[in-house]
């Protein structure tokens, strides 16, 4: 079983080259979404589900830097190797603007790899919408689903009941060599019960500390927080326009945000909450929804600049407004817990109230902290998150399961 992993690289930039590297990332205009091969042809990396290059802007004493993020099959080591093997030119074009990037004869596969490794950083928070599926599998299962639909369409009216129909479909696809890959046993991700029990126990043990932290934040932090209340309508129009021009082009969208981290207990709680989110994602939220939000493919939170800032990257279905609105509808309190640690976030109450529930202000904050994703790639730009999940379920039902009764067969057929 392959688990998807995050790769995060924060690479320093020669500060006078920020404009130049921005231009390089935009070269050819095929960066976002990266539907055709551009400066950094992600298409050549078989292990990548989603990938992006952004620039974390300079702020105060913090310099600008490059950030590379990819959601990959397998290990980071293999992935970095794949980059230096398949996209050396593209990599060079970008990293030439970074200090100490090897030049001349010193530039080779090994030195490139070492350079990348040097700047690999930890991803503190990570969520996978459709875990335990490789890029190849996602494509294969989509093709299978399409073929099953066509078969049903061509045989309209032939079957008297669901059981017959299901048997016929099963027979048809099991006996076709084209779909042999699907016979390989595949277990749908399940909630890891022992891990969940341990996780819940740990949370119960920590509960007094958590409540104490919430109380401290209510007493000593929240009263001092006075964010600007901006709606999206009050974001500089040019900035908003530039962001929107990179959106709603494919079925999915990207969001890249950079935040200044609040200090003290807020920062400590952020680390704890990101750790908890990652664990919960790996063991509990494995069926395609994060706290009831069904449209997220991958999300990550990374502390950068020694924790003084943190970033959030998301790959999701639908528009910015739909996505943020969905999240607030389903679990605004979860957003408040995590993003309450970001300066400028709408005022929270006891860490969970307020905040995102002030939806106009929340969306304004979202836009205000957003930065352009100069290069953004999806390996399957037209697939919705829930479709990926349900196509795997269909595959397992057709290839792995026993004979079904009428009701069970009907339940599967109705969702095709």
């Amino acid at each position: 079983m392959v688990i998807q992993n995050p790769v995060s690289l924060q690479i320093p930039l020669i500060q006078s080259h920020v404009d130049k590297v921005t231009e390089v990332l935009h070269q050819g205009g095929k960066g976002n979404p990266c539907l055709e091969e551009g400066v950094f042809p992600f298409q050549k990396l078989e292990s990548v589900h989603f990938g992006r290059w952004i620039i974390i802007p300079a702020k105060g004493s913090l310099p600008a830097s490059l950030f590379y993020a990819a959601n990959i099959d397998g290990t980071a080591e293999n992935h970095l190797n794949e980059i230096v093997t398949n996209i050396p030119e593209g990599l060079d074009k970008i990293l030439e603007h970074c200090p100490d990037y090897p030049v001349g004869d010193a530039r080779n596969k090994t030195s490139r790899l070492n350079y990348l490794k040097k700047y690999e950083i930890k991803t503190q928070g990570f969520y996978t919408g459709a875990p335990n599926r490789t890029v190849k599998q996602v494509h294969q299962e989509a093709a299978l689903h399409q073929a099953i639909k066509s078969y049903i369409k061509d045989n309209k009216g032939r079957w008297k009941n669901a059981k017959d129909a299901f048997s016929a479909i099963k027979e048809r696809f099991k006996n076709d060599k084209q779909w042999d890959w699907a016979k390989e046993r595949y277990e749908l991700p399940k909630v890891n019960i022992p891990a969940t029990i341990l996780f819940v126990l740990l949370m119960l043990i920590l509960l007094p500390f958590i409540l104490f932290a919430i109380l401290m934040i209510r007493l000593f932090y929240e009263p001092r927080e006075h964010p600007k209340k901006l709606s999206q309508n009050q974001i500089p129009k040019e900035k908003l326009k530039a962001l929107k021009n990179q959106e709603d082009i494919i079925y999915q969208n990207q969001l890249s945000q950079v935040f200044d981290t609040k200090t003290g207990l807020r920062r400590i709680m952020l680390r704890f909450l990101l750790w908890s989110t990652t664990k919960a994602s790996r063991y509990i939220f494995v069926k395609g929804q994060l706290f009831g939000t069904p449209t997220i493919h991958f999300a990550r939170w990374v502390l950068v600049d020694n924790g003084k800032r943190f970033i959030f990257f998301s790959n999701f279905d639908g528009s910015f407004d739909e996505y943020l609105g969905d999240f607030v509808d389903n679990n605004g309190w979860g957003l408040n817990l995590i993003y309450g640690a970001a300066k400028g976030y709408p005022k929270t109450y006891f860490m969970i109230g307020g905040g995102s529930y002030k939806i106009l202000e929340f969306m304004g904050w979202g836009r205000n902290t957003q930065v352009p994703s100069h290069i953004w790639y999806s390996a399957y730009p037209w697939y919705g998150q829930q479709q990926i999940v349900s196509k795997t379920i269909l595959r397992t039902e057709i290839f792995n399961s026993k004979t079904l009764n009428e009701k069970e067969a009907r339940n599967i057929l109705k969702d095709i």
């Binding site: 539907l35 689903h145 399409q146 639909k149 049903i152 369409k153 309209k156 079957w159 008297k160 009941n161 669901a162 017959d164 129909a165 709606s231 999206q232 309508n233 129009k237 908003l240 326009k241 929107k244 021009n245 959106e247 709603d248 082009i249 494919i250 079925y251 069904p294 279905d317 639908g318 528009s319 407004d321 739909e322 609105g325 509808d329 529930y357 002030k358 939806i359 106009l360 037209w382 697939y383 919705g384 829930q386 479709q387 349900s390 067969a409 009907r410 057929l413 109705k414 969702d415 095709i416």
Partner: protein
């Protein structure tokens, strides 16, 4: 569903009538697009006609009504300062056609705003004047009278005139009873089905919406005009509110390809011997719409059209059609208002989401000669809707629901009536419509677009007191 009381709390005399009234007996409509040539005179005209604007007060039962809407350029030409215009929501300031909005709304190809006959931030579209009257004769007399007033004034010019109408049986050009499901504004005094009573702030600025908050409203950033005519910002900023009791209006002229629509339904449902199957044809069309031609709901009447003219809206999906076997998930009705059955959510959560994305529709059919040829008619809908947040209501419905080809488990289905797939989706020519059925679903391929957008713009639809205020700038 229980019909519940909805006590009147709003100042209906200050609200333009069209927001809460459909004028079902005023069958004829005209739309004048006006250009402001001379602000001073235009403001005199505004002052002169303001008293004749019909209000939302149900006691008004006028035989002819008049309403006004404004574009940013209209407000500017009347003298509202740029700073005050910039205080309006971005969607209104930018207008219906921007690079991003064209994608969201699916305005490309034949619907490309470059080919529109009006709108898309056309420079001389300043004010929209809407007339309703009971008959052609009374409408014509009304228009003539108003044209006279406009001519005498001399400060404004009529740039474009459009017409619209309702038929007595309220059928739109494809032949379906339209305009049945409408939200009811809380506080308007009109009782209605519980699930249709929606917080005031979804449709009128200055009131709380379904999020329990005040929608973004244009506040006066610098003082001008007669401030006593304006309400204070209810959210407490201390500024004057231009929005209160007003709203935003979306106007899109949609050509309907009626022959293409019915030919397509006929082709897809022919008998094996190639003969036309009239019942199957109507049934498929009804499945696409979500109602029978009479207006009867597929949920209440799954097998056949009971006939007549029904405006029964008393149905819900979660209990009576959870699997879409009666009213398909991809039907126009179900995609655009999922009611109590959204995604896999329970009833309560579904209704919460649905109520945050509703619009009040005031569309009317139109017929116009093609290139001046009276024998050839272009038919369609003058689509108008009201909402306080264009992005989260009108645009959301069009983009997240109608144009979304992957609602629930569907994998390449859009609302075949008004949905548009993304321009660069490799599958956008193979859109499907799935009729949920047992033992297996039925799939219909090969859909063309039955609607072409011919014009459109976003307007500010102010309260009557704000219209008076504008005349004092």
């Amino acid at each position: 569903m229980a019909i519940v009381d909805n006590p009147r709390t709003l100042d209906l005399d200050d609200i333009q009538g069209m927001v809460s009234k459909g004028y079902g007996k005023l069958y004829k409509t005209a739309y004048f697009f006006l250009k402001v040539d001379e602000a001073k005179k235009a403001k005199l005209w505004l002052k002169e006609i303001a008293p004749f604007i019909d209000s939302a007060n149900i006691k008004n039962t006028s035989e002819k009504t008049l309403h006004l809407a404004f574009t940013p350029s209209g407000l500017s030409k009347l003298g509202l300062s740029q700073k005050n215009i910039d205080a309006f929501p971005t969607s209104f300031v930018e207008g219906v056609s921007t690079e991003n909005r064209n994608r969201i709304l699916g305005d490309y190809g034949d619907s490309d705003p470059q080919n529109w006959r009006w709108g898309a931030q056309q420079s001389d579209l300043d004010i929209l004047l809407i007339f309703h009257a009971s008959s052609v004769e009374s409408l014509n007399a009304f228009i003539e009278e108003q044209k006279g007033i406009i001519e005498d004034n001399g400060g404004i010019t009529i740039v474009t005139e459009l017409k619209g109408f309702l038929t007595e049986d309220n059928k739109e050009p494809f032949g379906f009873h339209d305009g049945i499901s409408q939200p009811i504004i809380k506080g308007s005094g009109r009782p209605g089905p519980e699930n249709d009573i929606v917080e005031t702030g979804e449709f009128l600025l200055g009131y709380k919406n379904e999020h329990g908050q005040y929608p973004f409203s244009p506040l006066l950033e610098e003082n001008q005009g007669n401030l006593t005519l304006l309400a204070d910002d209810i959210a407490g900023s201390g500024k004057k509110d231009l929005g209160r009791n007003g709203t935003f209006m979306v106007f899109r002229q949609m050509e309907q390809h009626v022959d293409k629509f019915w030919n397509s339904m006929e082709e897809k449902t022919k008998n094996e011997d190639g003969s036309v199957n009239e019942d199957a044809k109507i049934k498929l069309a009804s499945k696409c719409i979500g109602r029978w031609p009479s207006g009867a709901s597929l949920v209440n009447f799954p097998d056949a059209d009971p006939g007549g003219s029904l405006d029964n809206d008393d149905f819900s999906y979660a209990d009576h059609d959870p699997d879409g076997l009666k009213c398909p998930f991809g039907s126009h009705l179900r995609t655009n208002n999922p009611r109590d059955s959204f995604r896999w959510y329970n009833k309560e959560q579904s209704l919460k989401v649905s109520k945050r994305h509703r619009i009040i529709r005031r569309g009317r059919s139109y017929e116009m000669p093609v290139n001046g040829n009276e024998d050839k008619k272009e038919v369609g809908l003058q689509f108008i809707c009201f909402n306080t947040n264009i992005e989260l209501q009108f645009e959301f419905i069009q983009h997240a629901w109608s144009n979304n080809n992957q609602m629930r488990h569907l994998s390449n289905d859009i609302d075949v009536i008004i949905g548009v797939p993304p321009e660069n989706d490799p599958n956008n020519k193979n859109v499907q419509f799935t009729v949920q059925a047992e033992p297996v679903n039925e799939y219909y391929d090969g859909w063309e677009r039955f609607v072409t957008i011919k014009g459109g713009e976003y307007f500010f639809f102010p309260s009557i007191s704000v219209i008076n205020f504008l005349s004092t700038l």
